[in-house]
Subunit: 235 residues, 2 copies
DNA sequence: GTAGGACCTCCCGTCGCGTGAGGTGCAAAC
DNA sequence: GTTTGCACCTCACGCGACGGGAGGTCCTAC
């Protein structure tokens, strides 16, 4: 028995018969022989190649990458380094998502989850791509947790300000002035003191009245903009 | 202008027109109105929904998950927790791959990379699924780096033993005995002292002569099994 | 003689869109 | 008046790596 059938090879390798068919179809691991009735017969060389493919796949390479790796085996090291870089990038992305989620789950009640998300989402599309790139690089240097913490603080400030408005606290109230001061500090930390970005943020904020958030009936048109501006003028 | 065209909405949201079409097609975010010529007109409510979808997508949820999240918004928290768990699992997988790759890149010359991988791959399919689960849980408790280090040591021992064989060192040589002793220690650490797994490993090793590794013309049938067994008998 | 298994070859479905191809509607520039 | 150009429309195929099923063949065992 020096030849293998698909089923036996599937069992031995832990892959499925369908996968072996697929590899055969695309010419990645072809059964070199066939029986008279058309059944695949894998030679020792085929099996060897299959295990090479399997091992490379276990490192997360695509079938195309596996194919090229096996065609010119000298290029394994650069390929692996590229794969390592890709995995590192992926790890960072996953970590960013994880910290977003944990920050959300820790800091918010169930009913506020969706609206919080919606707010973040809307405000995140307010900047030009250059400014976004800039913000992102700054965010990267701060680390995802710090960014999430910052966002959470900001949302909390908005909540408190809105609360004061609802309670009828005058814009000249020192408590309001204090919140606005915190707000501006937060903004400075967020923008890293970059004047252009601050201006963009300010512009996005002022344009609120005629932009998305207004159109979709957000509380943004409830006068918070004016309220904050009045407080700033008074301070 | 309280209605939005696809193009404008795409620009504002950072999504593509095609994506908006897709969401419309599958009924996730439908343009509630159409002009007489059939152009989509998004109402404020549609836009709101789009931003909710976008925010949920940014957390890594699938379109199906987003849809169900928006249909019964009470279930957000469990959904997020599930997503967090999935992301955590994914993070672990990515980390495992990364440590495999770094271990490989650190410890091996270019030409040995592929054959090393191939060996690992073949030996990894030698155990029953129960035993594999067992090994995996032990591996999890050891941490991926330790596992890779262990594998690397094992492969290094195999290399040295084969070298001795090639050099004609007798199996009774104390240096060989020492290597075999290290080998057995490594095995004990790998199997965690579990007798059944040790037996399986032993069996897989002894069956080498008639199994895959022989069939594919591996050096395993070069007498290393016998050599090691003779050394053990002598020690 | 027939029941069961293992094998074969199509071929459609997945997920989230990208990327055309081919046509319509509408405004400004010639 | 027409041409150009733009934004929009509806199909419909393509990707990656297979899963899964339909419908048929082949071989063995009872």
């Amino acid at each position: 028995m020096t030849r293998w059938s698909v089923g036996d090879l599937a069992k031995a390798s832990g892959l499925t018969v369908r996968t072996l068919h697929h590899y055969d179809e695309i010419g990645l691991v072809v059964a070199s022989e066939r029986t008279s009735s058309g059944h695949r017969r894998y030679t020792p060389d085929d099996v060897r190649r299959l295990y090479q493919v399997r091992s490379l796949r276990q490192l997360g390479l695509s079938l195309a990458e596996v194919r090229s790796a096996l065609s010119r085996s000298d290029s394994l090291r650069p390929l692996f380094e590229a794969q390592l870089a890709a995995l590192t990038a992926q790890a960072r992305q996953v970590e960013a998502l994880r910290s977003r989620l944990t920050a959300l789950l820790d800091g918010h009640t169930t009913e506020s989850l969706l609206s919080t998300l919606e707010m973040m989402s809307v405000y995140e599309s307010y900047f030009t791509s250059d400014q976004l790139a800039d913000l992102r690089s700054r965010a990267a240097s701060m680390g995802p947790e710090a960014v999430e913490a910052l966002k959470a603080s900001w949302l909390e400030l908005v909540r408190q300000l809105r609360q004061h408005m609802a309670d009828g606290t005058p814009a000249t109230d020192p408590r309001v002035a204090d919140l606005v001061r915190q707000w501006d500090e937060l903004g400075a930390r967020f923008t890293g003191g970059d004047a252009a970005i601050q201006a963009a943020a300010q512009r996005s904020w002022n344009e609120n009245k005629t932009s998305i958030s207004t159109q979709i009936g957000w509380p943004a048109d409830d006068g918070l903009v004016d309220y904050v501006n009045r407080a700033r003028a008074a301070g």
